[in-house]
């Protein structure tokens, strides 16, 4: 659990990047495990990139779906509504989901590489 953050911080400003590689234990990783200030910064950066991915896909969903009721109300023809709602939306939803999962997994992969310094 958290130790004195100030003390930790001093150690980390000059991470021994290559020296301890053989031990299999790297600096940023320890920072995260012990949740020092630097560890918090790492976690925050991951959260920010994940939130950005979620908000991007969520925004696309909003743009895709949001105007539809207005469009249907404007177009008096019911067939458009039948086609779009009955058949048209499911494939885009699945594609959006796959796009998001790929982005989220890449974010995590990049993050793991960063903290393990590979």
């Amino acid at each position: 659990m958290p130790q004195d953050p100030a003390e930790r911080r001093v150690v980390v400003t000059a991470p021994p990047r290559t020296v301890r590689r053989t031990s299999g234990y790297y600096r940023p990783r320890t920072e995260i495990d012990e949740l020092t200030t630097l560890g918090h910064t790492y976690v925050r950066s991951l959260m920010r990139s994940q939130l950005r991915a979620a908000l991007t896909v969520g925004g696309v969903l909003l743009l895709l779906v949001g105007p539809l009721p207005l469009v249907f109300a404007a177009a008096a023809d019911g067939r458009l509504q039948w086609t779009v709602l009955g058949f048209g939306l499911y494939v885009p939803l699945v594609l959006l989901a796959r796009w998001y999962v790929r982005r989220a997994e890449r974010n995590e992969h990049d993050f793991v590489r960063l903290v393990e310094d590979r």
Binding site: I32, Q81, G86, F87, Y90
Partner: protein, 596 residues
Amino acid sequence: MTPTVNSGYAVPAVALVVVATVLVGAFGLRMSRTTSDFYVASRTVGPRLNATAISGEYLSAASFLGIAGLVLVQGPDMLWYPVGYTAGYLVLLLFVAAPLRRSGAYTLPDFAEARLASQAVRRLAGAFVVGVGWLYLMPQLQGAGLTLSVLTGAPDWLGGVIVAVVVVATVAAGGMRSITFVQAFQYWLKLTALLVPALFLVLAWQHDGADRRLLDEPAAFREQRAVRVDETLDLRLERPLDVTVTGTVDGDRYRGEPVRLPAGPHRVQGGTELVFAQGDPVPVADRGADDGMSDSLTASREQRPLYATYGLIVATFLGTMGLPHVVVRFYTSPHGVAARRTTVVVLGLIGAFYLLPPVYGALGRLYAPELALTGDADAAVLLLPDRMIGGLGGDLLGALVAGGAFAAFLSTASGLTMAVAGVLTQDVLPSRGVRHFRLGTVLAMAVPLAAGALVGGLPVADAVGLAFAVSASSFCPLLVLGIWWRRLTPPGAAAGMLVGGGSALVAVAATMVGRPTDGQAGGLHALLAWPALWSVPLSFLTMVLVSLATPGKVPPGTSAILARFHLPEELVGGQVRGAVPEIDARADAWRRVGDA
């Protein structure tokens, strides 16, 4: 009298589904030994099997019967329901899926406690889980009653009792592991039961000359048809209508005389027969709190269609993540990455299923338009095979659909019972262990069964809509802010859930009690009947403002917990596990009880 289909094949089909469910459940029982098996299937369920189980659990009576009925009565606007049920999973995936799995929480109260370290918030979340679960269970039992009475003319309560008994038996005996198998099995059963008859129905429609009027607005009679009105109903005509009446309309008696009814409301006495000519538009019954899943809130939709549509979109898109049986399922994924992948498969599976109900709705408008008038629109899926194909083929297809409908009630009801019983066992009943879980199961099912019997005529779609609206206004802000916002405090979370979820609950309850009469303030009624559009922002706002006002109450372990939510498992490796000691201790306690 409710229209019946030939029960010679349908009753055996329903019996077969029930027996198969019990057998698959018993198969699971043999494999479920310890308590951790019992609850979470030891987290060994793979993404595909888990996704199929989630889909099987999610596709309820409202999906199987309700959507087609709603589309038949109210037209394509109602297709927002299946779209919302599916898109709700996308929103869940974006903001909740992986962190929720990594939180290690089994139920929403577990999540609330892990994140906020507050027993009060935990208990509040538990109360909402039980409330939403019971609201969602009631329509399943009512749908079962409707199906059985359509099939056999049995009393309305019988189907609900059968479903209740089977579900309590499977859940109490096998726990989660058997439920996983049962649910996965029932997804394929439901898909088959809707897909195969749909193919034949579309062939029959093409054989009939592929009448393209099935998408026209409003639905019209394609041939002269006599409709017998069994119970007194009110009609609202947009234009004058010529019909031949035998019976009593607006207090006047007729004997097979042609009558011109002016535009406006009309009262048709029970027992009256109306003969409509070819091409007449189908009038829509203007009913209040009556039976059936399809005729709810019609009045408010007509008064505020756009507002109602957006209210429906918000409730379904954001409400899915808070449904108790959905959340529990994520715990069975081995890790966060699997939870995400599982959700994508779920989107594909339920999206494929939802292509089918609109087909039934559209064909129903063409071949059984009078169902909109007699209020049995939910029976459309069950009746169409007989109506369009007839003979032995129609009977067999009708039996297949009936079996699928029962699978729908059984699977959703099991998932909900599991979730509600979990909360009851952990938070309400005194000591823990498998025996108390069984007691919790009985309790979880008994209350909605009794409530359904007492309230009786509560419109089913209202109950489902209420469940989504309450879930969207209480759990969605809790989950989203809890996962992404460091400054959330226990008082903020409690206030947001109470204000948002509570006001949504009160609003919809008020519309159910006070049905709108002619000329009543339509805007206010629509606001209350579709609360999500204002109650969700209200809940978020309350949570944020109260949290900002109580900065000293941010739980001390927040950073460690958020790290646990978001870090990939390969980095954590048990290090941050201690961040949520209460939850880990509980999981250990379950394990010890099981090993003993």
